[in-house]
């Protein structure tokens, strides 16, 4: 196993907890070098692969090469960084790796600007706030967490962030990172914000620099195209994780679903199949949970803004323990968003995956196999039937 990382496996998902001092550094590691040795895996750390020859079955380093019979490409993703002036300055951090988290922990100053309000950006903003920074967040779109929540719940979460002292600037585009050799500020199309550190997290792209033109077929989303067995278009080459595109179990759409659980299951399947098994990947589950200070929020499936207006229906419910937002395409449940009591999101996964006409589901007798999902819907039955007309 070859990686350019200097460390064995760690979990990117808890880097924010480490930045916030909620866990010690050693806790982010999920495996030790000895674990690999015990499993009979030769682990080659800090070894960037610079080139690949599928014809020769070779990988090339700056000082050597490696021959393989079968290859699993799991190069993951890298932060999307457009050519904004000033990104080379000290104090500019595109958060992805443990090293980036270390940099943020070592940073000195008072003002932090986080660019991008995806889950990584929001978690970073909260972590820096915990460390005592004065934090501003800039987002180009009209809401925070724009790929997880539609406006109503995004607004609830925005208010919560603001109440805890995080400044949020929506509908603003970053034009330049200001300063000399060090970051001193961020210039947007509306204002200049002072900054001693800039955290850049506007999204991830598949890491494909290893591939030369035409070596592997890529999908429309820009990820490596693989079949159900995670096999690429090259004989003897599998791919998995953030660098591949996959099918969403709920919507059936093909795209990039760059989440930990999808990557891990794909990895298991690609590895097993490279060793001769015939395992199939069931598809990706687009579920994300985020903790906004002491409130949990979660989202699964498709957003209302992604459904065509003619077919779109939404149901928004507020209750003492939180909010629930259902996204429907005609009479079919396509997405669930919740603030508080996030188990309601999982509870509706089964109903979403069945993809059935909710009108029928609502009138038939319940069975124990329904689990708690049907009860959630029956709670809002009147409103749903009203929506369906």
């Amino acid at each position: 196993m070859v990686t350019k990382e200097p460390y064995p496996l760690y979990s990117a998902c808890i880097l924010a907890d480490y930045i916030a001092d909620r866990i010690p550094r050693q806790r982010v590691f999920l495996r030790t070098a000895e674990d690999y040795a015990r499993a009979g895996i030769e682990l080659m750390l800090a070894r960037p692969v610079l080139d690949w020859s599928p014809e020769r079955h070779m990988l090339y380093f700056d000082d050597g090469a490696l021959r393989y019979d079968r290859l699993v490409i799991a190069t993951g993703s890298r932060p999307l960084i457009p050519p904004v002036p000033g990104i080379e300055k000290d104090g500019f951090v595109a958060l992805k790796t443990l090293r980036d988290a270390d940099l943020l922990r070592m940073a000195h100053g008072k003002n932090a600007v986080v660019v991008g309000t995806g889950p990584v950006g929001i978690e970073a903003a909260i972590a820096l706030r915990h460390r005592g920074w004065s934090v501003s967040v800039v987002e180009m779109l009209d809401r925070v967490l724009p790929r997880l929540f539609d406006l109503p719940l995004a607004n609830t979460l925005k208010n919560r962030l603001e109440k805890r002292g995080i400044n949020i600037f929506l509908d603003e585009k970053v034009l330049e990172i200001l300063g000399g050799t060090r970051v001193e500020g961020v210039q947007t199309d509306r204002r200049a914000l002072p900054a001693d550190v800039v955290v850049w997290v506007i999204g991830m792209r598949p890491e494909l620099t290893l591939l030369n033109e035409g070596q592997l077929l890529l999908g429309a989303s820009g990820g490596i195209a693989v079949d159900r067995h995670m096999q690429t278009t090259q004989e003897g080459v599998w791919a998995c994780g953030d660098c591949v595109e996959s099918e969403d179990l709920v919507s059936g759409c093909t795209g990039l679903f760059m989440l930990w659980h999808n990557a891990r299951l794909q990895g298991r399947i690609a590895g097993a199949n490279a060793a001769g098994a015939g395992k199939r990947y069931p598809g990706s589950v687009n579920i994300t949970t985020i903790n906004v200070f002491d409130e949990a929020a979660a989202s699964v499936g498709t957003l209302a803004s992604e459904v065509s207006p003619g077919e779109r229906k939404v149901l928004h419910r507020r209750s003492p323990w939180g909010e629930l937002y259902l996204v429907l395409k005609d009479t079919c449940l396509m997405g669930v968003q919740a603030v508080g009591r996030t188990e309601r999101v999982g509870g509706l996964i089964g109903i979403m995956l069945q993809g059935k006409d909710l009108r029928k589901t609502l009138v038939r007798a319940s069975s124990p196999a329904d689990g708690p999902g049907l009860g959630i819907l029956r709670n809002v039955r009147k409103d749903l039937l009203h929506l369906f007309g």
């Binding site: 298991r268 990947y281 699964v300 089964g350 329904d370």
Partner: protein, 154 residues
């Protein structure tokens, strides 16, 4: 130990004594929100649904755990939570299709039924007989678990 809990919605009266018993046994304090079994009341009291970990074959909760704190014990088949490793991200809470995972907001960690190592206290105290501890295989009574299995298996 090869059992599993099954709940009977029809019999459950919604008294929630099981929640108290569970929290006392596991946390040494009567604190129902920290119970590993929860009675979900839906539809204005018409549905009373006892929920707890069903120890699925291919658990989505274990898949989404970012720190490998949710693991299958190979000898018993139980899905167990390592509370030391848990960082309280609640990914498992949101992902379970069956309301199977609770959350302890005092310790900031997930809560998962471990069947009291084969002697579940909730069963003993449920006067309505709504919670039973039955043989795990085969589990024809347990349709919920079967449904969860179908959701997400490679």
């Amino acid at each position: 130990m090869n059992g599993i809990l099954v709940a009977d919605m029809e019999r459950c009266t919604g008294c929630k004594l099981c929640e108290i018993v569970c929290s006392v046994k596991k946390e040494w304090v009567s604190d129902p929100p920290r119970s590993r079994i929860r009675i979900t009341i839906q539809r204005g009291g018409k549905n009373r649904l006892p929920t707890f970990c069903q120890h699925c074959e291919e658990p989505l909760c274990a898949a989404v755990c970012p720190v490998n704190a949710v693991r299958k014990d190979e000898s018993t088949g139980l899905i167990l939570l390592d509370r030391e490793l848990c960082v309280g991200c609640r990914a498992c809470v949101s992902a379970c299709p069956l309301f199977g995972v609770g959350f302890d907001s005092v310790e900031n960690k997930a809560l998962r039924c471990d069947l009291c190592h084969g002697d579940p206290a909730c069963v003993k105290y449920c006067e309505a007989g709504a919670i039973q501890y039955v043989d795990r295989d085969p589990f024809p009574t347990n349709k919920q678990r079967a449904a969860a299995k179908k959701l997400y298996s490679p």
